[in-house]
Point group: C2
Chain length 327, copies 2
């Protein structure tokens, strides 16, 4: 297996990504890594991975056109390498919009896929159980047909990642009743029902979406992004309230010491970074967007996601699924 | 001041709403209350308020047409009373969709208002500070012009309720940059900017929306509903995790006793019910939707919201604001 890695995207710098790569190769000595970035900053990896020099870095704030024009940036060189070396996967912690546009344009969408979707596993109320939510931000608007494709991509993802034979699939809406939602959601609901889509259970409200019943939550990119960020925002706000509650007095500090085990478990459950990163589904290669502020463990997590996706042959599965659907 | 009250909507029954009314009249002996519902269940209020009999109750699950047809239901009789008695406000804990449709059709929208909006105060990271979010679910789709009207309604609401002279107003989007969002949001952004809308600060992501900077968060009804329910869902999930963390062991139970003061404060901050209810903005009377599972304190809160809105002459303010905008 070959994975191309953009080493320059993390806010924490290339030392974090280099350490992440070191962690990864310890567990996967069989995987061929091609690391792209400023050569001078990657010297710790000499002899361990293939290093490809790229003098420039795409800024997190760069617009799509800037990213595409920055031909000597680590992101664009990494994409070129992935194509030329026929790699199985590509990983970057750089700008999501840039990575999405560049991979869509250069690596191309799978035949029949109208729009790529960003998918990420979310924590649920049931310990150890995740729910895949897609799209969480690749598009601003999605048609009913695109939502149906997201259901298909989500199903294949959940089977490969969660190892669920028959994942349950819900449409995110403003009510659980069949007739609730935007015109696109109503239409997607009707289509999924009419085609007896495997595992389709109907609509779910945002309030119940993460109660553990849903393995896959299908949503348009705009609402999905609101859902993702509202979830993250409240989790962060409550975490800081918990800290404050424990810091109030000497007594409450002792209270923390007595109960910290449970709270550590809780923050692990709620830690979005622990999942390593989001995947761009629908692209002709495994493309993983590691968190922008990836530390070594986080970046290693992103590489792990890419590895598992490539090992599960998810792109091939998507190709087959989409072509079956079109028949 | 005259307030008409639908006594039958709460899941907890009319004993809860009767107690809520008792709490309210203690603080506001000057307000004339007209309580509508099954006479036999309201006997504790005889001599304290005007009672109007309505033999039927609209079910929470009732569709819009069912609600409108149920002419003898407490909700429809309450609306009729509000019109005939020229009341200042109406309060119901019944079905949101039914209440919205019935008030829109019978009491009518303010001249120039295209769509009513449901507005509710949300907790923020800053203690004691709330943010008004609208629309949280009256519509499935909204045009740019409707979003601009929501900004105007939100501004008037925040001035009346939060007593902020110059409330800060943000558009909820999938990024804080000006060019982010659905076509409707982009257009609303341009319009608000072009008209130098007072207090308009640009876009805000769902992650930062409740950090305390925004007094008013403007969103279409579908995304607003996702935002509301994602926020509630995660808050509930984390609260139950906190309980579990404290229940793990004898030590952690003692930990709870030592730190419970801070956690009680936290759950007060995060308690959406403490705000009493959401308001339907844009209707020709103050219309407050109390929580469906209102207990006495919650229902009293809903009556309080109605009282404050009517006292602030919010409907008159909206009429003036909308007619100024159209000039």
């Amino acid at each position: 297996m070959k994975i191309v890695v953009d080493m320059m995207g993390s806010d924490l710098g290339s030392s974090a990504t280099c350490q992440g790569v070191e962690l990864f190769i310890k567990n996967h000595p069989d995987v061929e890594l091609i690391c792209v970035g400023k050569e001078a900053e990657l010297s710790s990896l000499i002899g361990k991975v293939k290093i490809v020099n790229a003098p420039d870095v795409v800024l997190m704030t760069a617009g799509v056109m800037e990213v595409l024009r920055a031909k000597n940036s680590s992101m664009m060189v990494a994409i070129k390498e992935a194509l030329e070396q026929d790699a199985d996967a590509i990983v970057s912690a750089g700008s999501t919009g840039g990575f999405l546009s560049a991979t869509t344009l250069k690596i191309k969408l799978i035949d029949g896929v109208e729009r790529a979707a960003i998918v990420s596993p979310f924590p649920t109320a049931i310990k150890g159980q995740k729910a895949a939510v897609l799209d969480i931000g690749a598009s601003n608007e999605n048609t009913a047909d695109q939502l149906v494709q997201f259901a298909l991509m989500g199903r294949i993802y959940a089977r490969a990642v969660f190892k669920k034979e028959e994942p349950s699939i819900f449409l995110l809406s403003n009510g659980s009743e069949d007739e609730k939602g935007t015109p696109e959601i109503k239409e997607a609901h009707q289509k999924l029902k009419a085609m007896n889509f495997p595992g389709f259970m109907g609509n779910v409200e945002a309030r119940e979406a993460l109660d553990g019943r849903a393995d896959v939550i299908v949503t348009g990119g705009f609402a999905g992004n609101i859902f993702l960020k509202a979830t993250e925002g409240i989790a962060k706000m409550m975490s800081s309230m918990i800290k404050k509650a424990f810091k109030r007095s000497v007594a409450s500090k002792i209270g923390y010491l007595l109960s910290k085990k449970g709270f550590k478990e809780m923050s692990q459950t709620m830690d979005y970074k622990s999942t390593g990163g989001a995947m761009l589904l629908g692209i002709n290669k495994v493309a993983v967007k590691a968190h922008g502020n990836s530390d070594a463990v986080g970046f290693n997590g992103g590489l792990e996601v890419a590895y598992r996706m490539a090992a599960a042959k998810i792109v091939e599965q998507l190709k087959e699924g989409i072509s079956n659907e079109r028949r």
